[in-house]
C-alpha cells in the first residue's frame, strides 16, 4: 500500500508507523464528534497520571463546513489521524518528522516548518501550546502539548498530533480536488475515488445540516443529553474520602459528546444567536469539566495508585 498512491495506503502507513512506536492502535469512536480530540482516548486519557500512548483514525464532523460537494477542499465529514502520547516524549518532534518521511515527505526536498499555533477548545475547557506544521506552505498537522483539559491541569502533559488526512493525501498524491483522491490505489475500472465514496454523502448532509435538520428535535436532544450527562455523573459517585471513585464516567461523557455535536448542528442551521452561542458553549464545557473531574476518580486515571484528592 503505497501512501502516495491511495488514501487507505496513507492511513495504513501511519497506523504501522505508530504501532511500531508502541501506540495502542484504536478504531474510531462510534459517535459523532467534531475532532479526534473528543475521543475519550484523548480527552479523558490525557487526564491523570497513567501513561498512555494511542493512535487512531477519527471521522470528524463539522456541519458548518459542508459545501454541497462543490468546494475542492471543504468537507463537513473528514478524517483526522490522531496520536496521543502521555507523557510527551522528549523526541516527539523527531517522531513526527519520521512519520512524515514514512508517508513520502522528505524534509530534504520539502520545507517543513513549525509555526506557532496555540490550541484551544472552548467546549472542552482545554488548551495547549504548539504549532501548526507546514509542508511547503500547507498546514498538514496540528502539534500540541496539552496544558489543560476539562479545566484540569494535565499532569503529566500529553503530546497530541493531529494529521489532516485528506490534505496530506491530496499533497502526496498531487491532487487539487479532494474528490479526485485515489482511495484504494487501483487504476482503471477498479479505481475508487474519494468522491465515489463520499461525494453523495457531502451533498446529502449539506442539505441536512443547513436546511432540514429538525431544530425542535435538536434543541430537545441537547437538553436531554445535558440532563442525562448530569444524571449519570451524579449516579456514578461511590465511596468516601480516599476511596471515593466514579463508576460511570464513560457513559456520561458520551452524552457530553452528543450535546456538543447537537450544538454544532444547531449552529449550522443558524438558529443560535451570537450571544446564545456563548452560553451553549459554556454549558457543554460544564459537562466536559464535570466528566474530567469524575474521570480522575477512576482506575483509568490512575486513581487506584494514588489516593484521590
Amino acid at each position: 500500500m503505497d501512501p502516495a498512491r491511495s488514501f487507505q495506503g496513507l492511513i495504513l502507513t501511519l497506523q504501522r508507523f505508530w504501532a511500531r512506536h508502541g501506540c495502542v492502535i484504536l478504531q474510531p469512536y462510534d459517535m459523532e464528534v467534531g475532532a479526534g480530540t473528543f475521543h475519550p482516548a484523548t480527552t479523558l486519557r490525557s487526564l491523570g497520571s497513567r501513561p498512555w500512548n494511542a493512535a487512531y483514525v477519527q471521522p470528524s464532523r463539522r456541519p458548518k463546513d459542508g459545501r454541497y460537494g462543490e468546494n475542492p477542499n471543504r468537507l463537513q465529514h473528514y478524517y483526522q489521524y490522531q496520536v496521543i502520547l502521555k507523557p510527551s516524549p522528549p523526541d516527539l518532534q523527531d517522531l513526527y518528522l519520521q512519520s512524515l518521511y514514512a508517508i513520502g515527505i522528505d524534509p530534504k526536498v520539502h520545507d517543513i516548518r513549525f509555526v506557532e499555533d496555540d490550541w484551544e477548545s472552548p467546549t472542552l475547557g482545554a488548551w495547549g501550546l504548539g504549532w501548526e506544521c507546514w509542508c511547503d506552505g500547507m498546514e498538514v498537522s496540528q502539534f500540541t502539548y496539552f496544558q489543560q483539559v476539562a479545566g484540569i491541569e494535565c499532569s503529566p502533559v500529553s503530546g497530541e498530533l493531529t494529521y489532516g488526512l485528506e490534505r496530506l493525501a491530496m499533497y502526496v498524491q498531487g491532487v487539487d480536488r479532494v474528490y479526485d483522491l485515489n482511495f484504494n490505489g487501483r487504476e482503471g475500472a477498479e479505481k475508487v475515488t474519494y468522491g465515489d465514496v463520499f461525494l453523495q454523502a457531502e451533498q446529502e448532509y449539506s442539505r441536512h445540516n443547513f436546511e432540514h435538520a429538525d431544530t425542535a428535535m435538536l434543541f430537545e436532544q441537547f437538553r436531554m443529553a445535558e440532563a442525562a450527562c448530569q444524571k449519570y455523573l451524579a449516579a456514578g459517585w461511590s465511596g468516601e474520602g480516599d476511596t471515593r471513585r466514579h463508576l460511570m464516567v464513560l457513559p456520561a461523557y458520551d452524552q457530553c459528546i452528543k450535546a456538543s455535536h447537537v450544538f454544532n448542528l444547531l449552529d449550522a442551521r443558524g438558529v443560535i444567536s451570537v450571544t446564545e452561542r456563548q452560553s451553549y458553549i459554556l454549558r457543554v464545557r460544564e459537562l466536559a469539566k464535570a466528566c474530567g473531574e469524575a474521570w480522575l476518580a477512576t482506575d483509568g486515571a490512575g486513581a487506584s495508585a494514588v489516593p484521590a484528592a
Binding site: 507523557p87 520545507d111 513549525f114 502539548y145
Partner: protein, 725 residues
C-alpha cells in the same frame, strides 16, 4: 578578560516572541551580573527559531572583595547583647571585633571581609534563576517532569544549554548548572535538516562561525538582510519589484534558520481580485511577499522564504506553495464574487442580531446613532446631507461580508470596493473606507467632507457611549481604543481646519442611548442603557479628556502644555464666575490658534515682561486678598487714582481689554496679543512708581482693584496664572 557564551536550545519559539526574548535575556543576565559586582564590557543577544543566545564580553574572573562593617553594642554592654552581636556578625569571640569611639563612647564594630567569588560560580547561580523567571508571554510544561508540581516552564520544550566562560586565549570552561533536568554543557546542534551531528563550541565567534557552517544564521538582523536582498534581487531579475513589508520580513526571519528565497507564480485570472485582498491572502495565510510590475500594479508572482536548500533546487517547495496559494486565492475570489452578489444595504437587517456592546445595544442601533450624528454634522463640515446619510448607513455593512470575515484587517477597504461596485457615489464609497481613519499616529486623515462627517460621528459615538457607561481608559488600559478615537477627532478637526463646538457634538442634552434588547437575545444577557437610567454622563469630563489628548498632541508637536492649560482654564474660571458656559473652550481649532498666538507672544520681550507683570499683580492680589479676607473684583474708581502711573494704567487696561476682546471676537488672536502688548509699558511704570500697599486704605483698595483689572484684561486671551515662568 573572560567572556560568557550562553545558548538555550528549544523547540520552535514563536516568531513574534523572539526579539523581546533576546532583549529580556540580555537585560536579565547582565543586570544580575552587575548586581553581583560583575561589570562587563559588552553584551549581544541573538535568536533563531530554536535558540536564544547571549554573549557577555569582558567580565572579571572574580567578584571584587567586599568589606562590611557592622556596628555593635557599647563596650561593657550586657552579655546577651554581645552574644547576639557576635552571632549576627559571625564572629567567634569579641576579640575579633574592633573598638571605635563616637560621642556616646566606645562601641564594638565587626569588620568582615567578604572575599569575591569566582565569576563562573556566580554565573552558574544567575543563569538558572533567569531561566526560571523568564517572562515569556505564554509558557508551558512538558514531558515526564510535568507530572510534578513546580516543574520548569519554557516557551516550548527546552532541550539543551550551552554555557561557557573563559578568556579569549584559553579553552573556556563550562559553567556547570542544572535546570529542569537539563545540564549545561558546550555542545549544540545546527540546522534541523541540513546538519546532522551535535558539535562543541567554545566562545561567541567560534559559536557563530560553527553555526554558520551547520547552516544556521544566528543573527536575526542578518537573516532579515539576506531575505530582503535576495528577495529584491530575485524580483528584479524577473523584471518586478518586491513589495516590501517590514512586519512580514521580521516574522519570516523568525521562522527560518537558513533562509532560502524562491519565487512562485499564480494564474493571471486572480489579478481581478482587489490587490489588497491578494496581498493579505498571501501575506496572512502563507507568509509570502507579493511583487509588483514596474508600473506599480501587482504581478502574478510571489516570493517565499524556505528554511532549506532543497536537493531539487526548491522545485517541490515552489510547486507546493503555488498549489496552496492557488487554493487560497480561489477561496478569496469566491468570497469576493459572493460578496458582490449581495448589496450592502441588504446586509443591514442582520445587524439587529449583532450586539455591539451589551450596554450599548446592537450594531444596528449604533449605525442609526452614527447616521443621526453624521447628518447633524454634515452642514457644519460642508458635506452633502444625503450623501452623508447614505455613507453612514452603509459604512459598517462590509463587516458582514465573507472577505472581511476572513480578513478583518480589510474592513472599510472592502466596503469601498463593494460600494463602488454597486454604483454608489464616490464620496459615499470613500467614506466606507475613510470613516475608520485616522487609525493611528501615522495614518492619513480623511479630507472629503462626507468621510469627515461619518468619521467624526463614528468616533464621537464611541466616546460618548463608553463615557456614558463609565468604561473610560484607565492607566495603560484602553480596551476600546478611546484615546485613539479622541485623537482621531482632534486630528480630523485640526488638519481640515474645521470649526466645531465639541460640546454640541457630544450628546448635548438628550440621551442617544435609548436601547431595546435585540431580538433573540435573552434579557438576562443584556443590560440595556434605557431611557429610565440616569443620563449619567459628564460632558465636561469628556471635554477634559479631549483637552488631555490635545495637550499630548500639541506637546508632541513642540508646543508648551502650560499654554494649552492657560487657554482651557478660561472656560473653567468663567464658569465659576457665573458668566455661563459660552466661554468654555471646546472649539479645538480656536484653542490651537490661541495657543499658537500665545506662544508667539510669549516669545517676544513684550510678552515675557507682560507675563511677569501679570504674575506679579496676581501674586500681590493673592496675598492681600488672603490677608484681608476680601476680594477686589469691583472696578477701580478713577477719582481715587492719585498718581499719573495709576491713571495711565487705568486707561491702558480699559483700552487693551476692549481691543483684545474685539480682536478675540474676530478670532484675530495675534491682534489680541498686540493689544495686550500695549499694556506692558503702563504695567511696568505702575510697578516702578506706585506703592500698592499705601497707608491710605481707600487708596490701597483702589490699587488692588486696578491690579485685578490687569488680571481680568489678560483673560481676554488666556489665563496667565496657568503659564509657567
Amino acid at each position: 578578560m573572560p567572556d560568557l557564551l550562553l545558548e538555550i536550545f528549544s523547540e520552535e519559539i514563536p516568531a513574534r516572541m523572539q526579539a523581546k526574548a533576546a532583549d529580556d535575556l540580555k537585560a536579565m543576565v547582565t543586570n544580575r551580573l552587575v548586581e553581583a559586582g560583575l561589570v562587563y564590557e559588552g553584551a549581544q543577544a541573538l535568536v533563531t527559531p530554536r535558540r536564544l543566545a547571549l554573549t557577555v564580553a569582558g567580565l572579571p574572573a572574580r567578584q571584587p572583595d567586599v568589606k562590611e562593617e557592622r556596628k555593635g553594642p557599647k563596650v561593657g554592654a550586657p552579655e546577651q547583647a554581645i552574644a547576639g552581636f557576635l552571632r549576627a556578625a559571625g564572629l567567634a569571640s569579641i576579640d575579633q571585633a574592633k573598638v571605635q569611639a563616637d560621642k556616646k563612647g566606645d562601641f564594638y564594630v565587626a569588620v568582615t571581609e567578604k572575599a569575591g567569588r569566582p565569576a563562573i560560580e556566580v554565573i552558574a547561580e544567575i543563569v538558572p534563576e533567569v531561566i526560571r523567571a523568564f517572562p515569556w508571554p505564554k509558557s508551558m510544561r512538558w514531558g515526564a517532569a510535568s507530572a510534578k508540581p513546580g516543574s520548569l516552564t519554557w516557551v516550548r520544550p527546552l532541550h539543551s544549554i550551552v554555557a561557557t566562560f573563559g578568556p579569549e586565549t584559553e579553552e573556556p570552561e563550562i559553567v556547570r548548572f542544572e535546570v529542569g533536568g537539563v545540564t549545561s554543557g558546550n555542545t549544540t546542534r545546527g540546522h534541523r535538516f541540513l546538519s546532522s551531528e551535535p558539535f562543541a563550541v567554545k566562545r561567541f565567534e567560534d559559536y557563530v562561525a560553527k553555526l554558520e557552517k551547520a547552516k544556521v544564521v544566528a543573527d536575526p538582523a542578518r537573516r532579515r538582510e539576506i531575505i530582503l536582498t535576495d528577495a529584491k534581487n530575485l524580483a528584479f531579475a524577473q523584471g518586478f519589484e518586491l513589495v516590501e513589508d517590514a512586519g512580514l520580513l521580521a516574522e519570516v526571519a523568525g521562522l527560518v534558520e537558513w533562509p532560502v528565497v524562491l519565487m512562485g507564480s499564480f494564474e493571471d485570472e486572480f489579478l481581478a481580485i482587489p490587490p489588497e485582498v491578494i496581498r493579505t491572502t498571501i501575506r496572512a495565510n502563507q507568509k509570502c511577499f507579493v511583487v509588483a510590475s514596474r508600473d506599480g500594479r501587482l504581478a502574478n508572482r510571489f516570493v517565499l522564504v524556505s528554511n532549506i536548500e532543497a536537493s531539487d533546487g526548491g522545485k517541490a517547495i515552489v510547486a507546493g506553495n503555488e498549489r496552496v496559494i492557488r487554493a487560497r486565492l480561489s477561496d478569496a475570489k469566491f468570497f469576493y464574487e459572493t460578496d458582490l452578489k449581495t448589496k450592502l444595504e441588504d446586509r443591514l437587517p442582520k445587524f439587529e442580531q449583532i450586539v455591539f456592546h451589551e450596554k450599548l445595544g446592537t450594531q444596528a442601533e449604533r449605525i442609526a446613532r452614527i447616521e443621526r450624528l453624521a447628518v447633524e454634522l454634515a452642514p457644519l463640515v460642508g458635506a452633502d446631507v444625503e450623501k452623508t446619510r447614505r455613507a453612514a448607513q452603509l459604512c459598517k455593512a462590509d463587516l458582514l461580508t465573507e472577505v472581511v470575515g476572513e480578513f478583518p484587517e480589510l474592513q472599510g477597504l472592502m466596503g469601498k470596493y463593494y460600494a463602488l461596485a454597486q454604483g454608489e457615489d464616490a464620496s459615499v464609497a470613500a467614506a466606507c473606507e475613510d470613516h475608520y481613519k485616522p487609525a493611528g499616529a501615522g495614518d492619513r486623515v480623511p479630507t472629503d467632507p462626507v468621510s469627515i462627517a461619518v468619521a467624526l460621528a463614528d468616533k464621537i459615538d464611541t466616546l460618548v457611549g463608553f463615557w456614558a457607561i463609565d468604561e473610560k481608559p484607565t492607566g495603560s488600559k484602553d480596551p476600546y481604543a478611546l484615546r485613539r478615537a479622541a485623537l482621531g477627532v482632534i486630528r480630523i478637526v485640526l488638519e481640515n481646519g474645521l470649526r466645531l463646538r465639541l460640546l454640541n457634538c457630544i450628546g448635548a442634552g438628550q440621551n442617544p442611548f435609548v436601547i431595546q434588547p435585540p431580538k433573540g437575545v435573552p434579557d438576562t444577557l443584556m443590560q440595556p442603557f434605557t431611557a429610565s437610567d440616569k443620563w449619567a454622563f459628564d460632558r465636561l469630563d469628556l471635554l477634559s479628556f479631549f483637552a488631555d489628548r490635545l495637550k499630548v498632541q500639541l506637546r508632541e508637536q513642540g508646543a508648551r502644555h502650560d499654554l494649552v492649560d492657560a487657554v482651557f482654564a478660561l472656560g473653567n474660571s468663567s464658569a465659576e464666575g457665573g458668566s455661563g458656559a459660552e466661554n468654555l473652550q471646546d472649539d479645538l481649532l480656536l484653542i490651537v490658534r490661541r495657543v499658537e498666538a500665545l506662544g508667539a507672544f510669549l516669545g517676544t520681550d513684550d510678552g515675557r515682561n507682560l507675563l511677569a507683570g501679570v504674575k506679579r499683580a496676581a501674586n500681590i492680589l493673592r496675598i492681600e486678598e488672603k490677608k484681608d479676607g476680601a476680594s477686589y473684583t469691583a472696578a477701580p474708581k478713577a477719582a481715587l487714582f492719585a498718581q499719573d502711573e495709576e491713571k495711565a494704567l487705568g486707561a491702558a487696561v480699559a483700552i487693551a481689554k476692549a481691543d483684545a476682546e474685539k480682536a478675540v471676537a474676530a478670532e484675530d488672536f495675534a491682534g489680541a496679543m498686540a493689544a495686550m502688548a500695549k499694556l506692558r509699558p503702563a504695567v511696568d511704570a505702575f510697578f516702578d512708581k506706585v506703592t500698592v500697599n499705601a497707608d491710605d486704605k481707600a487708596l490701597r483698595a483702589n490699587r488692588l482693584a486696578l491690579l485685578n483689572q490687569i488680571r481680568e484684561a489678560t483673560r481676554a486671551v488666556a489665563d496667565f496664572s496657568q503659564i509657567q515662568g
